[in-house]
């Protein structure tokens, strides 16, 4: 059996007395798409930031592609693509300058693929980044994350804040890219139906704790419910218990 693309063991993060992520453990197999679900404030972004070594964990360990994300940061980043929630780019650069600047970090850079993506998204590379719309901004971030042909793509609510049409277009792009390339994708979202369209596996967390980690088909078969019903069932039950 091949090693998982993502293996998280007992990952925790505390901000003062509050636990944003609390003993999270799950695995994502190589290949396919994993939907990372949770309500707003469930701890998805914090968990992903710990995966990317952008935030220090209070406890636990995260392995990406078999490597410790803290110890092998630079090596991992050449194999992982990341699009943050509302990605912040250098807005004083033009798109062309930003692409050139980003490409210089990598030994391999697929200029043709990035140009093709920019063309597909209709992004004028002479424009300043600050003049791009929010949707185009997210599309540019996605193109930059794919420029080095990453084995693992981590998308943290990439379509948040986009209107319905742009979001649908953006997700279509993601689906096509995933289908074309066949890489492992961790797609974080609180929009269940969007994840359901693309995910092979789902991980659901709430208040920083794991609720379920399973293959989507198995879960549906086992419960006989849609993903939305499963999600509402899991999170709603916890809400009732809390109340």
């Amino acid at each position: 059996m091949s090693q998982p693309a993502i293996a998280i063991q007992g990952l925790s993060k505390r901000f003062g007395k509050r636990a944003a992520v609390d003993g999270l453990s799950f695995e994502v197999p190589t290949g396919g798409v994993c939907g990372f679900l949770g309500r707003n404030g469930a701890g998805k972004t914090t968990a992903i930031r710990m995966l990317m070594n952008l935030t220090d964990p209070s406890a636990g360990q995260a392995l990406l592609l078999g490597l410790d994300s803290r110890r092998h940061h630079a090596e991992l980043m050449s194999r992982v693509g990341y699009v943050a929630e509302a990605p912040i780019l250098y807005d004083w650069m033009t798109v062309r300058e930003l692409v050139r600047f980003t490409s210089r970090f990598y030994e391999r850079w697929n200029t043709a693929a990035v140009d093709a993506l920019l063309g597909r998204f209709g992004i004028d590379d002479r424009q300043k980044v600050r003049h791009l719309s929010r949707g185009t901004h997210a599309q540019l971030a996605l193109a930059l994350a794919l420029g080095h042909d990453p084995e693992l793509l981590i998308l943290d609510e990439p379509a948040t804040g986009l209107d319905v049409l742009v979001r649908r277009d953006f997700l279509e792009s993601i689906i096509q890219i995933i289908q074309q390339e066949g890489r492992t994708v961790l797609l974080s979202s609180h929009l269940v139906h969007e994840v359901e369209r693309v995910a092979d596996q789902i991980v659901v967390i709430d208040e920083g704790r794991l609720l379920v980690s399973a293959r989507l088909d198995d879960l549906k078969l086992r419960t006989g419910q849609s993903l939305e019903e499963i999600f509402v069932g899991l999170v709603g039950r916890r809400e009732e218990v809390r109340q």
């Binding site: 952008l54 220090d56 943050a84 912040i88 970090f105």
Partner: protein
Amino acid sequence: MRDLRPWILGAGALLLVLRLLCFSETFAEVFLRGYLESLMPLLGLVAAIGLGAGQMARERGSKTLDFLLARPIAPAAIVGIKFLAGSVALAMLLAAIASLSYVGTGSRYPDVAESLRQVVGFPVLFAATFPRLWCLYAMALLLSTLVNRLAKAVVSGFVCALALGTLLGIYAELFPFSNVDAWFGAQFDTAYRLLRDPALFFRTGFTLCAVTLLLALAAALLFRRSPGWSLSNRWLILGAAGLAGLAIFSTYAAAHRFPELRPAGSMELRMESSHAAGAMDAAGSLVAVASKDRLAFLDFSNPAKPREFVEAPMPLWTIWTTVNLTVSGTTAYILGTRKALPTDEVQIVIATLTPAGTVQFAEPISLGDSTLTLVDSVAVAGHFLYVDVNRLGQCQIEVYDRSPGASGREAATVVVDMVRWQQPSPGPWTPPETMRMLRRGQFLYLTSAAALTVLDIRDPGRPVAVSRIAYREPVPQLYGSPRELASDGRWLLEAENLPAVWALYDVADPAHPVLRGHVPNLHGGIVSTGPALFRWWQRGVLELRAAGGGLQALRYLTDGRDPQAIAAADGTVYVLESAEDRRTRRQFVSAYRVNR
């Protein structure tokens, strides 16, 4: 890349405007003085801290740091690359800031500041200033990796720089003759001082560069260990409170650094004069104090109960101004100017305390027209008076024989120097004051425009010049500035004006002084009187000893009043002090026993 064209065009326009404005002599003088003394160091400080503070905290604050961290580059390398890029930017900024100092050069009548700029030159100024600002920049970079907002990093940087400056200032007070000011000064005179002392130049430069690299390494290691971590506001406030506490503690330590010595006795002066006393000297337990128009003899034979012998007005019918006072035996020699027409006259008034307790004035010695004659002091050896006189540029020692039966007129003259016409000036040239004199046993030491001269007065009526040490003065405008003298044990101290240092001469062979080194002169004059050296310090006087090629502070003589003049005799130091309140100004003479 960011578009730098508006910045480059703006800088060019600024330079052009300044160059045009500097065609006005007045503007050039005012601008350059203000710029050199305060604006240039301030701009350098702002550039260093601004650049350093912005490196990491701005990326973190605007969240573009995540963009960098998601690339295949080690976190430490991000800090390292930013440090190097910022260093290049700092060097360019500093070059621009320093070059502004040279905008208005070429005045027809160059002053000291302009001559200093010509002597120092751009490369030396840059090389002397860069390590100091680079170190500040690295400190700001370290702070920048510790906080999550640009504003916090900038404020922390300035707070740390301010605290560091305060602590160094206090350190300079604690160790008054250390070279601490040369380590962090970013001004022209520091650069000039370093130029004159290459060993200090390289020692400070290399050490500060090493500290800079260590700070950058610390920043890189901290960031590598945990890129997402930053100090909370609570820790920042605690840090600021810690710095404030350290400054307060250091101030307290500075105030109590030296053992304090209280006066053995003190008496208030009650002179019938509207002018404050300003000159004082002592011989044995007899102390003479002179104001502008009166003279008092005080008896300190019992320091616990001092008393006034007598007070008398100067025997002059017009206005008199006392310059200096020397006491020998029971006679006071008061050097000053008498208001007269058509020009004032320089005179030595001789007043003797008679056994009957009265003052007897002898015929004053007239030294000449005050516009042509510059006199500093009088030295007494037996019946002979030695006066250092600069007569229209001719520096000489004039000897007056006061032996009973002698004429009292000038007995001998030894010319030691000739002040040469120095530079073009807008008005008529007048010779500088130039001369200082110190008597030490059988030798007179004289500083003049060109040299330190030693006169042998073993035959008091026929002084002989026995040695001469010529100066090398690179700044032409400083030629002829008087150099104060002081001595202690086997050391002779001579003040150099720029940089402000004391040249230490070994006078184990009193006829042939040997220069042994320099010590900083941060706080102005040192007075050598009697067996020791003294200088003003806070609200009192610091007693010093020249030892081991440097100066060592021994005791702090204080009565809580402001010192004005010092005299010493027979192991007792007399300090003329003043105490002011809103309405009155009172003067005291206090006696401190300082037998070593």
